[in-house]
Symmetry: C2
């Protein structure tokens, strides 16, 4: 049984600005609702890597992953004649994305459109049934007030631009059939829309994640990127200091500071250059604090088969802690 | 702005049986909502012919037509290995159909799945935005209590089985690439599911329409089929007797009777053998009762370019009257 409308749903529509509040009220009320996590960020910012290990750690029977970049209004062929790129809200069915996020957030199934990245075509939609946890990743999940109202935890991935460009060239030439020159031209073409529509979402994230080398260090090649996590006081964060001892300072440390917009924020640094064993100890301490019966999931930190990053593992672990805490 | 959830939408989901009532309440409340018409019936019962002329009469800018047979769960290839036919609710995304009907009924857009009848494939979905009138036709729009709650007027098309079989052979061999033997085998295979899922919808229609020759007459070939319309007292019907004089009795007459299930019903007979001019006079009288500025739409009654049926025109005109009355 699916129920999407009611007397108050009607009233909502007549008072602009109210739907997001009613959505929040709805989600705050009693009843079993999925826990919703958003992972927003520009193309090739690392969204899939982050969400994939997290979904695996939760288990396929408990977590549903959805990429909202499938809400493209035009296929690759049709976009050729258009003046805007897929980053532009007008290039996407944003109202339908908002509608589907609301449905998932209230525990209802959706028939999600499917965009085939390998050939740029729009194909047969697929049924998505929300499980206990729903992980939404994509370019624009935090674009509107109404879409943001659907989430328990919101993340923005904010890698340095030169690193993201490398990632995008590597992925799009490898998996999506473009050559490097095409990817670079596309990045330039997208820049104004990235500035206008993608990056403003950073301000609405509870957690901003940046994977990057530590500037003042000169680590040897192969050193995993470090992670900086801005933990905004928009949601309660776990007290990491209470979980770990002084010995862990080489692996992580937390620092009070100001965000680039002046807002006070805790910055958690996870060091890629720390000895792996020390990072693993921190992970185990956080995991034991979560009081789970099962062992620490091995999927955390996996970049590709056989390649691990402890900063990625710790980031996923913190998100996992947030998701599990939101259930109660 | 799309709003689908609210505190009471949540409550609905926890009390089985309530969503349809809340849907009715929602639609009964103030505010501009589309007028929703359902045209249900078995395959090749004449649904598209009826709805097409009606949508044209309303105008494309005022009417949205949707075929809910596009909610197939499997494509033609996948269905080959299955024990049930497209008539079975399990062969369709019924929960999504219900969800989309609710969204349309509350004035919200949907991204509707698309089934390509020419090759039996499921393809790219399409955006449907409800206009002033929404005409929903298909095999199962009246299947559930919740789906029925979405409509202002419900119609079931009930041709005699031998006529429907002729229509289906003619259409499926002409437009859908089957041969007559395949169509007949498919009709036999579908019969148990037609009985179980399609025909029970007849009981839930406000108007049951049957196009058939008049049994006791022996009209020459080419005589249009007559129409019998059962007008159930579930909705108020226009008083046709008040619109027409005694002279019109050759074209139409109304008779109190009992439906096959014993319920009292008005049966309106529209005679295919009546002189065309007399039928047109009745149409004009009904049209003038609707007090429209524009002339009687020429699309009414068109079976194919150049071929008209006055009983079809009169049936469409009555439905048109219901739709226009529901706006106020």
């Amino acid at each position: 049984m699916v129920a999407v409308a009611s007397a108050s749903a009607m009233e909502m529509m007549e008072e602009p600005g109210v739907p997001d509040k009613l959505m929040r009220m709805s989600r705050a009320s009693s009843g079993q609702r999925p826990v919703m996590l958003a992972i927003a960020g520009d193309s090739a910012a690392g969204k899939t890597t982050l969400s994939h290990g997290l979904a695996q750690a939760l288990g396929e029977d408990r977590a549903t992953s959805v990429c909202v970049d499938d809400y493209h209004r035009y296929d690759r062929q049709e976009r050729k004649g258009l003046s805007f790129t897929p980053l532009h809200p007008d290039c996407n069915y944003i109202a339908i994305m908002e509608q589907h996020l609301q449905l998932l957030a209230t525990g209802q199934p959706i028939l999600k459109p499917v965009y085939d990245h390998s050939d740029g075509s729009l194909t047969r939609p697929e049924l998505i049934e929300p499980r206990e946890f729903v992980i939404i990743e994509g370019l624009l999940p935090l674009h509107s007030k109404l879409s943001r109202a659907c989430f328990d935890v919101t993340v923005y991935l904010d890698p340095p631009e030169e690193i993201r460009r490398e990632w995008k060239i590597s992925r799009d030439t490898g998996k999506r059939g473009y050559d490097a020159e095409q990817v670079l031209a596309e990045l330039d073409r997208r820049e104004p829309e990235s500035e206008a529509f993608i990056r403003p979402q950073r301000a609405h994230a509870d957690i901003v994640v940046r994977f990057a080398p530590v500037p003042e260090r000169n680590d040897p090649p192969g050193t995993p990127l470090s992670a900086e996590l801005l933990l905004r006081p928009t949601i309660p964060h776990i007290d990491i200091a209470a979980q770990i001892g002084d010995d862990d300072l080489r692996a992580v440390h937390c620092k009070l500071g100001r965000d680039s917009d002046g807002r006070p924020v805790d910055a958690l640094h996870v060091h890629g250059h720390a000895p792996k064993e020390e990072s693993r100890l921190v992970e185990k301490a956080i995991w034991s604090g979560l009081q789970r019966d099962e062992p620490l999931p091995e999927s955390l930190g996996e970049l590709e088969p056989g390649v691990r990053s402890e900063p990625v593992a710790l980031t996923q672990l913190l998100l996992l802690a947030h998701l599990l805490a939101a259930v109660n």
